[in-house]
């Protein structure tokens, strides 16, 4: 059997990849996908922990996360579309109307 720690480490690696993608990618859609990757890393963590603790809470949690992630995706894509209509670009470096 694959030990729990393998799953956790894999999830952590996925999460870090998501973070890195979020920070270093310049395309808004890719950035958004990085966030989704992070959420799924969390889901993997939940499922594996839930299995090893013999508790269903974690699995249920995963369903909630998936639902919320879907809702987030619809809203996120809608927002991305309005931004694209206004600026005709999906590069974050050009979304700079307000100074930081």
């Amino acid at each position: 059997m694959v030990p729990l720690s393998y799953y956790l480490i894999l999830a952590a690696i996925l999460f870090v990849i998501g973070v890195a993608g979020f920070l270093f990618k310049r395309n808004i859609v890719t950035i958004f996908m990085s966030v989704e990757l992070m959420l799924n890393a969390v889901n993997l963590t939940f499922v594996s922990l839930s299995y090893s603790l013999r508790q269903l809470d974690g699995q249920i949690f995963v369903f909630f996360v998936m639902v919320v992630a879907a809702a987030e995706a619809t809203i996120g894509l809608a927002i991305i579309i309005t931004v694209f209509r206004n600026r005709e670009s999906l590069n974050v470096d050009r979304i700079d109307l307000m100074k930081l």
């Binding site: 998501g18 950035i31 966030v35 969390v42 603790l53 809470d57 974690g58 996120g76 309005t82 979304i95």
Partner: protein, 506 residues
């Protein structure tokens, strides 16, 4: 599920129904029939407030949905605060919605949905519920921020808020997952017991029902989880170093929405922040207090310093809101009953004065938010004396001048911090609040002491807006002169929240 469970979430149900009704009305009605929407939204808020009041006294209520929700005095306090904030925002946005031709039905529905999410956040006692409440309110807020669809800054704000918000949520979720792994629970009280049992293993051995389900709690995992949870919450309350989104979002969002975010959402985020850290993680306070210490100090310093440089009033108020999060973190750092009460009182005082200030900004802003630079305010003290006078009151309250709610808020915060022997943090905090006076005074200087370069048009104040201004001014003074009632409410709620934790009894 029992009837009592449904009664516990009756306020949220009422809000959701009202929201759906408003949204459907908006979809099926003609464009110009938007006058009904605010009325229904207000009715919904009133009904929800009634549902909260109906359950008084809040101290003896059982937890609902198997401990998922807890309608205690703490959550009642925040519910009332959210409803008040939402009602004031609805009233103060009537001018704005008409003049920007926003889709009134959706706008009010989203406000109600966001308020509902905030209400869930305040009463959830389980990390799952916290996550859901947070997402309900966040998703609605993302849309509200970008509600001026055709305006590039607005959609840009929305995008930044959305991307950074979901990024932070991912951290929060990861923190929840690790906490679940470490303690085997997502319920805050159970987490508290599991961590406490770990801390004094002797007690745990003596009473087997308290033994955690997974044996010894891995402390490294708990530490990591606390750090991740902190990231998530610090983002939501816009504390340094997770504040970068705040100025852009607050500047680009429609002004009434900015008012809503900076008061309601911030209060909701602090409500869950307090509940998670004070209820579930109180036992390992030594692990997270220093995080709050550093973050509070940095928020005050960076928020104030950046606010000094701003010329756009919305952006200035955004930076000041970071600084105010810092003050609140000072009281949080005390992690005592007094500290919790101080946070609650401050959030109430801050909400009222900040909504008032944003209402004035929104009114002066005029169509398309054209006049939101400080120089536009030159000479307004004489052209719009009452509006300028109320703005002055709100700004003085934000500075923390006595006889206003802001003063008592700061007073309780620094009293709690000093009582917890946080001497240096307190000293730096009060000095910060003195420096902050400079940028608030600048607005007053422009209004009263500068000749006007450009005479901006000042519209007549409509009754709804007038009511908001008078109400928030009266409340600001009331909290500054007779704070007793609100303070008692806050202290009782804080006492009840922390009551059963010391001895590990559920």
């Amino acid at each position: 599920m029992q009837t009592s469970d449904l009664i516990r979430i009756l306020p949220e149900i009422i809000l959701a129904v009202a929201g759906i009704v408003v949204m459907l009305l908006g979809a099926f009605q003609k464009q110009n029939a938007g006058r009904m929407h605010p009325a229904i939204a207000l009715l919904g808020l009133l009904g929800a407030a009634g549902a909260i009041a109906y359950q008084y006294p809040w101290r003896s209520l059982d937890p609902a949905f198997g401990g998922m929700l807890e309608l205690d005095a703490f959550s009642a306090f925040f519910h009332i605060l959210f409803f008040l904030v939402a009602a004031l925002v609805v009233l103060s946005s009537s001018e704005y919605v008409a003049q920007e031709r926003l889709a009134s039905g959706e706008y009010h529905a989203l406000l109600l949905f966001a308020t509902m999410g905030m209400g869930l956040m305040a009463s959830s006692n389980d990390l799952i519920m916290i996550f859901i409440g947070l997402e309900i309110s966040s998703l609605a807020s993302y849309i509200l921020v970008g509600f001026r669809r055709g305006v590039a800054t607005s959609s840009e704000s929305s995008l930044k808020y959305f991307l950074l918000g979901s990024f932070a949520t991912a951290f929060l979720l990861y923190g929840i997952a690790l906490m679940f792994g470490a303690t085997g629970a997502t319920n805050l009280t159970e987490i508290h017991l599991a961590l406490q049992a770990e801390q004094n293993t002797v007690t745990a051995m003596a009473s087997p029902q308290l033994t955690p389900l997974v044996g010894p709690v891995p402390t490294a995992l708990v530490g990591l989880s606390i750090a991740l949870l902190f990231v998530g919450f610090a983002f939501k309350v816009s504390a340094v170093p997770f504040q970068i989104w705040t100025p852009d979002v607050y500047q680009g969002a429609p002004t009434p929405v900015t008012a809503f975010l900076s008061t309601g959402s911030k209060a909701a985020a602090f409500a869950v922040f307090l509940r998670v850290f004070m209820v579930a993680l109180e036992g390992s306070a030594q692990d997270w207090v220093w995080l709050l210490w550093v973050s509070g100090l940095l928020s005050m310093v960076l928020g104030n310093l950046a606010a000094l440089l701003q010329t756009n009033i919305k952006r200035m108020l955004a930076y000041s809101s970071i600084a105010h999060a810092g003050y609140i973190l000072v009281a949080f750092t005390a992690h005592s009953e007094e500290g919790v009460a101080a946070v609650m009182f401050y959030l109430a005082a801050y909400a009222l004065m900040n909504i008032g200030a944003f209402a004035v900004v929104s009114h002066f802003g005029n169509r398309g938010e054209r006049y939101v630079e400080m120089e536009h305010y030159a000479g307004l003290g004489y052209r719009a004396p009452l509006l300028a006078a109320s703005m002055t009151v709100f700004l003085l309250s934000l500075i923390g001048i006595p006889l206003t709610g802001g003063f008592f808020g700061k007073f309780y915060i620094f009293r709690a911090a000093l009582h917890a022997d946080l001497v240096w943090l307190t000293v730096l905090g009060v000095l910060n609040s003195a420096i902050a006076a400079y940028y608030y005074l600048r607005v007053i200087v422009f209004m009263y002491m500068h000749p006007a370069a450009e005479q901006i048009p000042v519209e007549r104040v409509r009754p709804a807006m007038g009511f908001v201004l008078i109400f928030s001014m009266a409340a600001t003074f009331l909290l500054g002169i007779f704070p007793q009632a609100v303070l008692d409410f806050a202290s009782q709620a804080a006492a009840l929240l922390l009551e059963n934790l010391g001895n590990g009894v559920l």
